[in-house]
């Protein structure tokens, strides 16, 4: 696993614990809005937390395409690598 991926996964886990502590461990392939039942406010807070942790800004249109945690992680790795 690349260093960037490790960093991103740690940031996502920390943000989940911070923004949505009530959820516990999540299935990374579950749909955020469908299966996990998150609303748009919860997802925005989660992403803001991740952005702070990673010192990164995620463009809004990229978020619109993300359905699962794994997809979010993949996008974050991609953005983080571009930033480096």
């Amino acid at each position: 696993m690349s260093d960037v991926r490790r960093e991103v996964e740690a940031a996502v886990a920390a943000a989940l614990a911070e923004a949505l502590p009530e959820l516990g461990p999540l299935d990374p392939d579950a749909a955020l809005t469908g299966d996990l039942g998150l609303d748009s406010v919860q997802i925005m807070n989660l992403v803001m937390e991740i952005e702070d942790n990673l010192d990164l800004s995620v463009p809004v249109d990229i978020l619109a395409e993300v359905r699962t945690l794994n997809q979010l992680t993949a996008q974050l790795v991609h953005l983080k690598e571009k930033q480096a």
Binding site: V41, M44, V60
Partner: protein
């Protein structure tokens, strides 16, 4: 399988609001009697759920200006100013708006929604950035979607968060337009404008302030929060609407940059739609004069605002904003309690707004009361008495 299947959750939400009495969403108003009175469900009520901040909708000279234009210039322009002709009155209104700010350029749009669509999508494009507050109005978000620029959200009213995001852009921050509102209409809160100005100046970014709800309300001449904060020299664009304090319909953008004029050639929401009707433009011109000279109207409005805030704070309600403003949002613990307050107010002769997710930030359930310069002290007293009696009858612990 139907195209309408996806609306089922929305339909269920609406159904969940019950069908006893008038609907809290798209509430039917049988008749409007004045700036502050209407008939709902056959009963006369105080209107405290409109955006008629200066109470100008029935002002005789505004109506006279509209009537005269209607008779002299007809019912509509029947087209776009770029394609079908640009009337003298539309141009005069733009000159008057620009002059009010002491700036070289102003553009009029057919609605405030389209002003944001037209300015954001036209001005900021591929390879550039839109940095918008996360609580932004839908018209700002939709302007971003129509733009080819990259859109980045910053935390609501958080200049430090904006600072970090501009820092990440490095040199590209000079190609970034920061967008904030002068008054956020869901919670009624205001941005720390001076801090935002400091941050955007340090990064060389641009700043647009949407004064939709603050125009007419704040500032010596009613130009908005930017004027009140003494920051007119520090912003690049002010967007506003004719539909609230100006009591009509339409929108505008003013700028100290004369090049704003070039946007007329490039902004699709400006070009590909009909311009406002002559009567609307004439009414707005007259209302603009009254707004600029309307310190007395603002005094009345702020007297009402301070009165209501003082009383409601004393009731122990949690409010969306500690700063008194024309919109008061009472935060209620859940939808059922919010709905009970909304219906209770209506039964006591006061029409306010029920605001629920997904329209609200942070998933809040709100009872929203908007005030007008035209409300009398008795009106405010009646609103206070109604809220007081609800406070005594509806428990604020979760009722669900």
């Amino acid at each position: 399988m139907s195209l309408f299947d996806k609306f089922r959750p929305l339909a269920e939400t609406r159904a969940g609001l019950g069908n006893s009495g008038p609907a809290p969403i798209a509430t039917p108003i049988d008749r409007v009697l004045s700036a502050t009175r209407g008939v709902i469900d056959g009963k006369e009520v105080i209107l405290a759920g409109t955006n008629n901040y200066l109470g100008l909708t029935f002002e005789p000279s505004v109506i006279a200006a509209a009537s005269q234009a209607l008779a002299e210039l007809g019912t509509g322009t029947t087209g776009s100013r770029m394609a079908n002709g640009s009337y003298a009155d539309h141009r005069a209104l733009e000159s008057e708006l620009a002059a009010a700010f002491g700036w070289p350029s102003a553009m009029v749009f057919s609605t405030g929604y389209q002003a944001n669509l037209g300015v954001l999508s036209g001005l900021v494009s591929e390879g550039e950035y839109l940095l918008v507050d996360s609580d932004s109005h839908a018209s700002i978000y939709d302007g971003c979607r129509l733009s080819k620029a990259q859109t980045i959200r910053f935390r609501h009213n958080d200049p430090d968060n904006l600072d970090r995001r501009l820092a990440r852009l490095g040199e590209d921050a000079k190609k970034a337009l920061v967008v904030v509102e002068g008054l956020y209409s869901m919670l009624g809160d205001q941005p720390p404008l001076a801090e935002f100005v400091e941050v955007k100046n340090r990064h060389g970014a641009w700043l647009l302030v949407d004064e939709a709800h603050s125009f007419g309300v704040f500032g010596e001449r009613g130009l908005g929060l930017t004027e009140q904060a003494g920051l007119l020299d520090e912003v690049d664009f002010v967007v506003g609407t004719f539909s609230k304090s100006l009591a009509g319909i339409g929108g505008f953008c003013v700028s100290p940059h004369a090049e704003l004029e070039l946007l007329r050639l490039a902004s699709r929401p400006y070009i590909f739609t009909a311009s406002p009707s002559p009567a609307v433009i004439a009414a707005t011109r007259r209302a603009l004069t009254l707004l600029i000279e309307g310190q007395d109207l603002r005094d009345s409005l702020h007297r009402n605002i301070n009165h209501l805030y003082r009383e409601v704070k004393a009731m122990g309600h949690e409010l969306g904003s500690a700063d008194p403003g024309p919109v008061m949002a009472i935060i209620l613990p859940d939808r059922a309690t919010a709905l009970a307050h909304w219906r209770g107010l209506l039964e006591r002769g006061v029409y306010a707004n029920l605001m629920i997710p997904p329209a609200t930030p942070a998933g809040l359930n709100l009872l929203r009361i908007s005030l007008s310069a035209a409300h009398s002290e008795d009106d405010i007293n009646q609103i206070v008495t109604a809220l007081q009696s609800l406070r005594e009858t509806i428990p604020l612990a979760a009722t669900a």
